[in-house]
């Protein structure tokens, strides 16, 4: 290959590598969402210390306060980090074999330090001997505070009305 062609090709490859591997706001938010799902998930072998650690880490990904809105459960208020941690802990104890995953996530930035996320939360697990699977559409808001992104609100989109 001639040197004339090699140089632009190298520039193109470097630009592609930078685009792929350099962290940006969207990648950070997606990573936080994956971490949130991982921390909320519980396996039967999980020790109490790990459960406690994961609940703390999950709450740390949220802002202070964080709004939770689930119309069907009549929940619609702000929670502080301690309350969030306690609720996540309670949920993990109630669902000791449940895996959380986020799918079809879309992130938009109405402002530089604010993000709107639409995602599908999927739960898959086992209660006693019964396997279950469930899914919810979530509208999530995130805020950039001192270069870190935190989830500031979670709303379950109730698109099916009885």
């Amino acid at each position: 290959m001639s040197k004339i062609l090699l140089f632009p090709l190298l520039i193109l490859l470097t630009a592609a590598a930078v685009f792929l591997f350099l962290p940006n706001d969207e990648k950070i938010i997606r990573k936080n969402l994956t971490s949130l799902a991982e921390y909320s998930s519980t396996s039967p072998e999980e020790t109490t210390i790990t459960t406690l650690k994961k609940s703390t880490l999950a709450a740390k990904l949220c802002s202070q306060p964080c709004l939770i809105h689930i119309e069907s459960f009549d929940i619609g208020r702000e929670f502080d980090k301690k309350e969030l941690k306690d609720h996540i802990l309670m949920m993990k104890k109630m669902l000791p074999d449940t895996h959380f995953t986020f799918h079809d996530t879309g992130v938009s930035f109405p402002e530089n330090d604010r993000a709107e996320i639409m995602s599908t939360l999927r739960l898959k697990g086992k209660i006693d001997t019964t396997r279950f699977t469930d899914a919810y559409e979530l509208s999530i808001h995130a805020e950039k505070i001192k270069s870190d992104w935190f989830f500031s609100s979670f709303t379950v989109v109730e698109f099916m009305e009885q």
Binding site: D104, T120, R122, T133, M160, E161
Partner: protein, 166 residues
């Protein structure tokens, strides 16, 4: 060319440009067809039993409503934010219809509906309600659970991804 050579050439063709082009075309076609037109579904859950069993496979045909209208009793896939996770439900009422459940029996526009696809039913009671324009009413076939644990109701028509085949 003898028969063994032909068989050998069919199963183990030489890796030339023509062959690679064919493989690429096949891969791209499969991707486009199975991502956008005929989406494979793995059914998880019991809400559509007995017609669709937990753990079975099916396909969502996205072109179904391109040239035909949505009909009552069609089985459709309903999207959340995308097409990776969807709900499988049966349309029981169309826009403007009145839906009601009395002791587990479905009533549409005050007429009792015979539902041969429902094998188990609990005594669901739901007061009459009118389906809004641009909406349809969807319910699962398995009515053997209490009403509060079954996800059903009216959804916007644009939430329907396609019909289910197989």
């Amino acid at each position: 060319m003898d028969i063994s050579n032909r068989v050998k050439k069919f199963f183990l063709p030489s890796l030339n440009v023509k062959y690679l082009r064919r493989i690429m075309f096949l891969g791209l076609s499969c991707y486009l067809i199975f991502s956008y037109l005929l989406i494979p579904l793995r059914i998880e859950g019991h809400s559509m039993e007995p017609a669709y069993q937990n753990g079975s496979f099916s396909f969502c045909w996205r072109m179904k409503y391109l040239f035909s209208e949505i009909e009552r009793f069609d089985v459709v896939t309903v999207r959340f934010t995308g097409r990776s996770v969807m709900l499988l439900k049966r349309i029981v009422a169309l826009p403007g219809d009145t839906v009601e459940f009395r002791e587990g029996m479905l009533y549409i526009n005050e007429k009792q509906i015979n539902e041969p696809y429902v094998h188990h039913r609990c005594a669901w009671n739901l007061a009459p309600r009118k389906v809004a324009p641009d909406h349809v009413y969807v319910v699962g076939d398995n009515r053997g659970t209490v009403m509060s644990r079954h996800r059903f109701g009216q959804i916007k028509i644009d939430r329907i991804v396609g019909g289910v085949i197989l």
